[in-house]
Amino acid sequence: MIYLFSAYTVAWLIIFSYLFLLFRRENKIREQLHFIEHCLQEKKNRKMVR
């Protein structure tokens, strides 16, 4: 029984930590992307004003 339990725990642990990692990575990159897009947009606006 203990083996069964540990096997499933390990498996789910691996899957969920991978999922967690993936989500974190996605959020990080999305943030970066928004930041850069924002910067570029601002730059463009400033150019137009000038």
């Binding site: 069964l4 499933y8 691996i14 993936l22 996605e26 990159i29 850069i36 570029l40």
Partner: protein, 231 residues
Amino acid sequence: MKRLDAILLACSAVCMFIALYMVFIWSPIEVKMGVVQKIFYIHVSSAWVSFLAFFVVFICSLLVIWKSNELAYHIAGASAEIGVVFTAIVLTTGPIWARSAWNTWWTWEPRLTTTLILFFMYIGYLLLRQSDGERNKVARFSSAFGLVAFINVPIVFMAIRWWNSRLHPVVFGDGKNQKGGGVEPEMLLTLIVCVVTMTFLYVVLVRKGVRIARMKEKIKMYMEQVYTHFS
């Protein structure tokens, strides 16, 4: 795009609960090995996913080499990563089962060893993808390796099988997935449900990986723009 993702995620969640129910409550307990046999479901289904993932890597690598297809390259990357993760599951659940069934953590049995080598090869593949250099070059190189690695798998399997059967007595019968006697239909059904669940999960994960890779690409492109503005 978004909607399909939601549907897929919902599907895999529903399947997951059904699978869990079937594995732990519905399916009968195996006579010889007892309750431990239930490890088998997750073990086999993750093995299936990892092989599927590596097969996808193979196909996508071919597309990259042949047609220099960008999407295929992203899919290959996401797929290889998932493959490695699921191989890790196979490699941890396998020994746990082995410990209870055969009273040893590890044997140099063909399937186990092949999986281990597979694991190393695809870690190498992922490292190769992350190596620095011109993007197109890295894509070509890693795809070439993805192709060669997949071709190597059956050869490794054959080699190890011969190696074992010729010189060691065969202790554990024909492979580790041997189930005493025939398979109960309930067990088979449970297994199928598990495999389907894992496949859903795989598809969801690949889509997510591809999305991340694309965003990374976009960032790189923007960065180039920013740099040219400032230079």
